[in-house]
Structures are given as structure tokens and as C-alpha cells.
């Protein structure tokens, strides 16, 4: 992320039950840049989300973390607005910004009073077309990103454990390394690497722009034609061809950290990409396992004093990725006991299935998630943009209600059997225990 903040990304795993296609207007500039507009005047503000189709999956050893680093460099000066001027100009106009990088995307977010919209267009166009990658700035920003990496590891056990688990779960695909990159790569990429990266990926034909708020389509169109349309298109980036070889047995990783008070366990199972038909069933299975105090993991682990927290996480993803299950042991519970207790509810679903009531509960939770996302202009822009990219077609958004409602208890059981099985998982253990013996 550009900088630390408490902004939680709106749910992007929910469908747009109540929104009609008419609420989302779109057009494409002649350079290939796609733009979507959601008119909403509930507050006198608007936002602009720029989704660039570049993330850590586009990297290679030697330049791991460069997508995220670039997320930072995009704020460090261009032709019209030099160093510091992007932020200073935006903030003086009443706007604020941030950005985040994932395995798949780099997303820039601007929030502003609607009167500042033209300024936002000017600022974005300048850095897209004319970014000035200054050598001194690169060195300073390396230190910032090193601090970002370090503070993540200092404060987050999830961060510490997940980067090791990913490294073991993937041995071929670029999802193997952490989005922030390896420490030695952060220190080593060159100016030429950066220039090449900008030219390849920050081309208008590689972007989706979503604007939501108290704006009018005609006004957005006019500004987009004026500021974004003159930016030349580039040859499309090369596609990612690596397919992770099928895992053929359980993999394990142990991480020592002295200050961990009780063991943490992460299970990671290979699952298909978001476009796969099983996405909806997997998403509901995640909910059945971990959402709410009546969830399977909560009943089996937290009520029984085996764990103090248990969660699932399945990122939306262009390529097949991981379904994570994470738990933190209660005091005096060993890593081994926690792992066994964590596996039982999973096995139970594979063996005995789930009830209609459980399934209906999680479908209701998804409906709530959707309404919460639609409550803000920020949630609308982020959800709609993410849907367009991860599901590949904006119209599929309107199939989502049917897709969720069609999932049956039998589907959930089949999905649990097919994916949440031993040979398909990596087990990560984070503990203060020292490994001993030979």
C-alpha cells in the first residue's frame, strides 16, 4: 500500500443483487482505456479508481516486489507535476489518495470533492504518460518500502507465516513470492527495470478506470477525451504462461518467531481461479467454515477453547490460487493439537456435508456484504472494478445471484472433497518453540 491506513477494502466477493446494468455506464477510449461511471450524488464527493493489470504475478526472480515498488514510484514526480507535487496538488484541491498492490493488480484510489475532478484527471494523465523516474527518489523509496516490509513482519503474524507458506505451496507460478518482494530484490532493481516496467504495464490499454460519485457521464467523457485519450497505447504485455504443477502430497513449513505467544497454523489448499464455476461454492464454503460465531470453526475451536481465532481467506485471482485457513492456538494448546482440531471440521464437511440452513445463512451474509459495499461510492467503485476484472465480463455480475442461489449442499460437499484434501495442502506453523534434534 502507498501508506498505512485503516481503510478496509470493501467486500469484493459479493454480487450486485440490487443494482441494474443501467446504473453502470461505460465507454472505451480509442487508445483502449476502459472507463466505467456510476452516478451517485448521495454526498458531494467522487472517487476515481485506476485498476492496472499488473501485480506480483507479472514479476520474475530478481525483480520480485517491483509492482508494489512501482505503486510507490507513481507518486514521485512526472513532467508537469514534479516530485511531491502530485500529493500536494491533490490535497490542496481537497482530495486524498492511496494505492494497493495485489498478486494480480495495482490499484490507485483518489477520493475528492467533485469540484476537484479535472485536477485529478490532469494529475493522473501526467504520471501515466510522463512519469519521471529519478535515481535519488528510487533510493529513498527503497528505504520506505523496506520499512513497509519490516513493519508488516513486526506487527503481523499472518504476514510472517503467509510468505513462507506461499513459497512452499507454489514452486513454479509467480504467486510463490510475497507481493512486497524479497528483501534483496527491493535493494537491487535498476532504473532500467523500472523504466521498462512503466512502459509495459502503465499503458492505457492495460487499465480500467472506475469513477463513482456526484458526477455526470458527459462530464467524465469530456475530461477523459481531453486528458486520457491522447496517451498512446502500447503493445500488450506478455501473458503469464506458467501453470503450477499439480501438488502430489502434503507440504509443510515451520517458522520460528520468539515473541509469538501461542502457535499459529495456516493451511493453504490450491483452488481454481475466480472465473471458475466453483468460485461461488468455494466462497460459500469459506463462509460456512469461518463467518460468524455459529460457524463450523468457531464452534469446533473457539467454543472448545482450542483456538482464540480462526479465519478463512480466498483472494480473488486471475490464476489458480490458494484457499487459506488460519487459526491461533489458545494457551497451552500445542501446534499439533491445533492442527488436528482444525482438520476435523474440514473432514467432517467432506464426509457428511452441510445443512440447508448453513448454506442459507452464508447466502444471507453475502447479501449483507453486497449491501454494505453498495452503501458507499467507494464500495461501488472498488466492487464494480474488481468484478469486471476478476470475472472477466461486467455482465456476469448480474448472474451472480443465480450462481450463489444454485449452490446446493451437495456441491459444497463435493467441493470440500475435491479441494480441501491432504495431498492438495500446505501446512504452515508459526511458533516460538525452537526446533531441536538432528
Amino acid at each position: 500500500m502507498k501508506w498505512l491506513c485503516s481503510l478496509l477494502l470493501a467486500c469484493v466477493s459479493c454480487s450486485l443483487w440490487a443494482t441494474s446494468a443501467d446504473d453502470i455506464q461505460r465507454f472505451t477510449l480509442k487508445n483502449g482505456m476502459q472507463i466505467m461511471v456510476i452516478e451517485d450524488d448521495s454526498i458531494p464527493n467522487a472517487n476515481m479508481y485506476l485498476f492496472w493489470k499488473v501485480g506480483s504475478r507479472n514479476e520474475a526472480p530478481g525483480i520480485t516486489g517491483i509492482s508494489h515498488f512501482f505503486e510507490h514510484m507513481m507518486f514521485n514526480g512526472a513532467k508537469t507535476y514534479g516530485p511531491k507535487q502530485f500529493d500536494r496538488t491533490m490535497e490542496a484541491a481537497g482530495g486524498a489518495n492511496n494505492a494497493y498492490t495485489t498478486e494480480n493488480l495495482t490499484v490507485y484510489t483518489n477520493w475528492f470533492p467533485v469540484s476537484a475532478m479535472e485536477t485529478i484527471f490532469k494529475l493522473e494523465a501526467d504520471r501515466i504518460e510522463h512519469l519521471d523516474i529519478d535515481a535519488a527518489m528510487v533510493e529513498s523509496e527503497r528505504r520506505v518500502v523496506t520499512s513497509e516490509r519490516s513493519t508488516g513482519l513486526e506487527n503481523s503474524n499472518w504476514r510472517t507465516l503467509s510468505e513462507e507458506v506461499k513459497g512452499v505451496a507454489f514452486r513454479a507460478h509467480p504467486y510463490s513470492w510475497p507481493v512486497i518482494g524479497h528483501e534483496s530484490d527491493i535493494a537491487a532493481w535498476s532504473l532500467a527495470d523500472l523504466q521498462q516496467y512503466h512502459q509495459t504495464y502503465y499503458a492505457p490499454n492495460n487499465a480500467l478506470v472506475v469513477i463513482a460519485g456526484a458526477v455526470k457521464l458527459a462530464q467524465v467523457k469530456a475530461l477523459a477525451e481531453k486528458y486520457f485519450a491522447p496517451i498512446p497505447a502500447q503493445a500488450p504485455p506478455r501473458s503469464i504462461k506458467t501453470v503450477e504443477p499439480k501438488q502430489k502430497g502434503e507440504r509443510r513449513v515451520f517458522v520460528h518467531k520468539a515473541s509469538v505467544s501461542t502457535p499459529n497454523i495456516m493451511l493453504a489448499y490450491h483452488v481454481p481461479a475466480t472465473k471458475d464455476a466453483d468460485y461461488y461454492g468455494l466462497d460459500l464454503l469459506a463462509g460456512i467454515l469461518s463467518e460468524g460465531n455459529s460457524s463450523r470453526l468457531s464452534r469446533a475451536l473457539i467454543d472448545k477453547q482450542i483456538a482464540i481465532a480462526a479465519e478463512t481467506y480466498m483472494p480473488q485471482s486471475f490464476d489458480p490460487n490458494l484457499f487459506y485457513i488460519y487459526a491461533i492456538a489458545a494457551p497451552k494448546v500445542s501446534a499439533k493439537q491445533l492442527e488436528q482440531a482444525l482438520l476435523q471440521p474440514i473432514e467432517n464437511i467432506a464426509k457428511n456435508g452441510v445443512t440447508e440452513a448453513e448454506l442459507s445463512k452464508v447466502k444471507n451474509m453475502r447479501l449483507m456484504d453486497f449491501y454494505r459495499a453498495m452503501e458507499t461510492i467507494n464500495g461501488k467503485a472498488n466492487t464494480i472494478g474488481s468484478y469486471e476484472l476478476y470475472f472477466g465480463d461486467m455482465n456476469k455480475l448480474f448472474d451472480a445471484p443465480a450462481a450463489y442461489s444454485q449452490v446446493t449442499p451437495a456441491d459444497i460437499q463435493r467441493i470440500a472433497q475435491q479441494f480441501l484434501k491432504r495431498e492438495n495442502r500446505t501446512v504452515g506453523v508459526l511458533s516460538s518453540a525452537k526446533e531441536s534434534g538432528l
Binding site: 491506513c5 486524498a96 515473541s259 449483507m368
Partner: protein, 475 residues
């Protein structure tokens, strides 16, 4: 980054200082822009003294609901009982067990949580409008007829105690608790909401019941409902469900105007975390109360110092020197006092460089002051970023809750722009002199004590504690 955000949730991390991006307060310089105003709401009192706020919002078919009670960690004895009592409301009612409450709420996709802060306790619910007939009565039972089942209470205590150890794995998650205790000493604001592992272990179901009986009373409480509902029907439903809630006898309250500490020398608390990769630090002193008439002016000045990306602190410590990923400053306000802090973190090898630069940058408030151009920028920023703070039902609930606890009214919203606009450069000078602590600064450093002790000594009288010691105190 998604993984970062998820890890935040699982480790119950929070970010320090004012959240810089979406939650910071700005407005356009365009005179034609629509003015953002407080939506219409009803505010009335039932015969038993219970305050009610009703604010209809029809954008999505959801309702957010809160019960707010004037009881917080300032009333704690033993430490942590206000928070434990609030959380215990979720352990069952005279009609439903804990598991039944959870099954009903989860089944509808709804959420209900409870907790406490320094000055209030609360129950918060969010549900679909169509489920009001189930959720509002369930909510009323949770607030008025808790069972405080002792088996469940014991399990909750164990979870909370384990949660304290886990929180200490993240310096960012606990540094404010150390700072407030270090600063406020014997004053009730020193007490950490979470309690400590010994105080929690000793709390009995009987004490929780007593705390509830003493403090959870209609005349000291408010019910807040925001969202998609019919006002007439909601009024009738609330009268029926809360009209019989009986007043009890008044309890003696702590005098929060007394015992405010006199900070007569600079002091440093070093919290030793031997495996720390970095030093996490806060620098500050006594700030302001929430009802201070200069609250908004100070928000503007603080925006310049450490409340946004281009603030002086972030510009110096991050952008110019690469010492950290972020540096901020913040006024955290309570009803009778508050805290001002500068916060950042840095590699343990650059601890001194980062603290020195933070202090040097802070001194610019007096040496150089705020110029007209920077002031204009900060004013535009706080106005432009203001409306998104009050967009959701939950945010409006939180606003009404603050109005109730701190005695504020809709002018908080309606006169915001006007108050920002009238601020002059001369005003900023007065605000700096009057409110920003300049002498006898207090420091908390969490890191590897062996490495940072020699540095800590340069800033004041040092005390050292281990992060695994009980609680968050310097003693």
C-alpha cells in the same frame, strides 16, 4: 495489499494516528458545490429517561442499531470490568443461550457485537430491514436481560486473557495503551479498556452482574437507529421493548476533572521486545477534550503537522529521509481531557535519527509556524475529506453516539465548513501556543531495550518494562 489487510483483521491491528486516507476529514473551493449537511433525525426521551435517536436512510435496505451506556474503563474497578461486562451481554439472555443468539443473528446474515471504550459501553447491530421483527427484540433482550452465564463468562475471560498476550505480539496494537497509562498515571483515563491478565482472571460473574446493575440504566443510556425503517413503527416498537426498562439507584461517578497529572519533566518508557525488528514510538503529552471549542481548528493545524500524506512529519520522516513507511500526529479526545501524540516506527538502527527528526519537525510549529498557502491547502483538504466520514449507517450511528456521550449537536456537521473557513494564520499561532505540548514531552518506545536504552536516555528519565509483564504500566 489484500494479505496485509486480512492480517490486520486477524491480529486485531489498528493503525495509529488519524487514519490518513478514507477517514480523514475537505471541501471544494467551488461555491456552487452542494453543501453537506446533517440528515434530519428524531431525538426524544422515553418516560424512563432513555434517550432515543432515529435517523432514516433509504439508500440500502439495512438498519444499524446501537445501545450506548455511560459506563467505561473510567468506571473500572477491577480493571477491565466495563469491557468484560459489555462483552458478556452476548453470552445469553433470559430467553436465549449464547449459541441461540448467534444462530439467529448469523442465520439472517446479521451481526451483533458489544464492547466498551473509556467512557461508554455499547451494543452494535446491523441487519436487513426485513428482519426487524426478529432483530430488534433480540437486541432489546441482549441489552436488558443478560444472563451472565458463568461457564460462558469463564471461557470469555480465557479468550480475553489470551488476546492480551496476542496483542502484545504487535507493538502497533498496544503502544497507545502504554502511552495513556504512562501519561495519565493515577487518573481514570489511564486505565486500559482491556484490563490486564490478572485483573481479568479475578473478575467473578457476581461482579459483572453488579457492574451491570450499577451502570446499565435507561437514564444513562441511548438507543440509536439509522437506516431503512418507518419512524412511526420504530417508535412504537422501541416504546414496547424498552419502555419497561427500570431505573436503578445512581452510582457515584469518578471526578474526571481531578487528578490530571502534572508533567514536570520529560520521561521515556522503554518497552522491551527482544526480537523487535524495529522501534515503534509515540511522543506527546496532554491534549484536549472532545468539547473543546478549538477542536476543528486543531484538526486543521494537526493536518499540517501530521494528519495527511504531505504533512510535515510524513514529508520529513518518510519522503525526504526514507526513515519510515509513515509518521503521523493525532489528538485523541475524551470528555474531560485527551492525548496528543506523534507516532512512527523505524528500523532499530535508525531509532535516534527518526526521533530527532520528529522532534525537529515538531519544533517548526513554534519556530516557523503555518503559512497562508499551507493553511489554505489544509482547509481544502479537511473539508473535501469530510463528507465520506458520514456516508454509511454505521458511521452515522457512531456520530450520534458521540453526540450523546460528548453532548454535541448537529452543528458538528452543519458548521464544520464555516469553522474551517474562518481560521486564520493568526489563529493557528494561538492554537499552537495554547494546545500543542512543547515542554516535558513524554515518550514510549517499544523495541529491543539493550539497543535503544542509550538513545532513550537522551530524551528524559527512563523506565523500562518487558512487553510480557502484566498490563501496560510503567510500574
Amino acid at each position: 495489499m489484500r494479505t496485509h489487510i486480512i492480517s490486520c483483521a486477524i491480529a486485531a491491528l489498528f493503525c495509529f494516528g488519524i487514519a490518513g486516507c478514507s477517514t480523514m476529514p475537505a471541501s471544494s473551493t467551488d461555491a456552487t458545490a452542494v453543501k453537506f449537511t446533517m440528515p434530519e433525525f428524531d431525538n426524544y426521551t422515553l418516560d424512563n429517561g432513555l434517550t432515543v435517536y432515529l435517523l432514516p436512510q433509504k439508500e440500502v435496505p439495512l438498519i444499524s442499531m446501537a445501545a450506548v451506556v455511560r459506563a467505561g474503563s473510567i468506571d473500572d474497578n477491577p480493571s477491565g470490568i466495563a469491557s468484560l461486562t459489555a462483552r458478556s451481554l452476548m453470552l445469553g439472555t433470559h430467553r436465549q443461550t449464547k449459541a441461540q443468539i448467534e444462530q439467529i443473528a448469523d442465520g439472517l446474515g446479521a451481526s451483533i457485537t458489544a464492547g466498551a471504550d473509556k467512557e461508554d459501553s455499547f451494543v452494535l447491530a446491523q441487519f436487513m430491514s426485513k428482519d426487524s421483527a426478529t432483530m430488534v427484540p433480540l437486541f432489546a433482550n441482549i441489552v436488558q436481560t443478560p444472563s451472565f452465564n458463568s461457564d460462558e463468562l469463564n471461557k470469555l475471560k480465557q479468550r480475553q486473557i489470551a488476546g492480551l498476550s496476542q496483542a502484545k505480539e504487535s507493538p502497533r496494537a498496544v503502544i497507545n495503551r502504554y502511552f495513556e497509562q504512562f501519561l495519565f498515571a493515577e487518573h481514570p483515563y489511564a486505565k486500559p479498556v482491556s484490563g490486564n491478565r490478572d485483573s481479568l482472571a479475578a473478575i467473578t460473574a457476581k461482579q459483572v452482574r453488579q457492574f451491570y446493575d450499577d451502570y446499565y440504566q435507561p437514564q444513562d443510556s441511548a438507543i440509536i437507529v439509522v437506516g431503512d425503517f418507518d419512524v412511526g413503527q420504530m417508535k412504537a416498537q422501541l416504546q414496547q421493548l424498552f419502555g419497561q426498562w427500570r431505573e436503578g439507584s445512581q452510582v457515584a461517578r469518578s471526578d474526571l476533572d481531578k487528578q490530571l497529572p502534572k508533567l514536570d519533566k520529560p520521561r521515556v518508557l522503554v518497552v522491551n521486545k527482544p526480537d523487535a525488528l524495529e522501534t515503534t514510538f509515540l511522543i506527546g503529552g496532554i491534549g484536549i477534550s472532545r468539547d473543546n471549542p478549538d477542536f476543528i481548528g486543531l484538526e486543521v493545524v494537526n493536518t499540517i503537522l501530521g494528519g495527511r500524506f504531505t504533512s510535515w512529519l510524513n514529508d520529513e520522516l518518510r519522503v525526504n529521509s526514507g526513515l519510515t513507511y509513515g509518521a503521523r500526529s493525532h489528538f485523541n479526545t475524551h470528555a474531560h481531557a485527551g492525548v496528543f501524540t506523534i507516532s512512527s516506527f523505524t528500523n532499530k538502527k535508525t531509532t535516534q535519527a527518526a526521533i530527532d527528526l520528529a522532534l525537529k519537525t515538531y519544533a517548526k510549529l513554534w519556530q516557523q509556524g503555518v503559512d497562508a498557502k499551507t493553511l489554505a491547502s489544509a482547509k481544502a483538504y479537511v473539508k473535501g475529506q469530510f463528507p465520506p466520514n458520514y456516508e454509511t449507517n454505521q458511521q452515522l450511528v457512531s456520530l450520534l453516539k458521540d453526540m450523546y456521550i460528548y453532548g454535541l449537536d448537529e452543528e458538528v456537521i452543519n458548521s464544520f465548513d464555516e469553522q474551517v473557513d474562518k481560521l486564520t494564520v493568526a489563529d493557528t499561532k494561538r492554537l499552537v501556543t495554547q494546545y500543542f505540548p512543547q515542554q516535558n514531552l513524554q515518550f514510549v518506545l517499544i523495541g529491543n531495550a539493550a539497543e535503544i536504552m542509550p538513545i532513550a536516555k537522551q530524551y528524559g528519565e527512563v523506565k523500562v518494562v518487558n512487553i510480557n509483564d502484566i498490563g501496560f504500566s510503567a510500574n
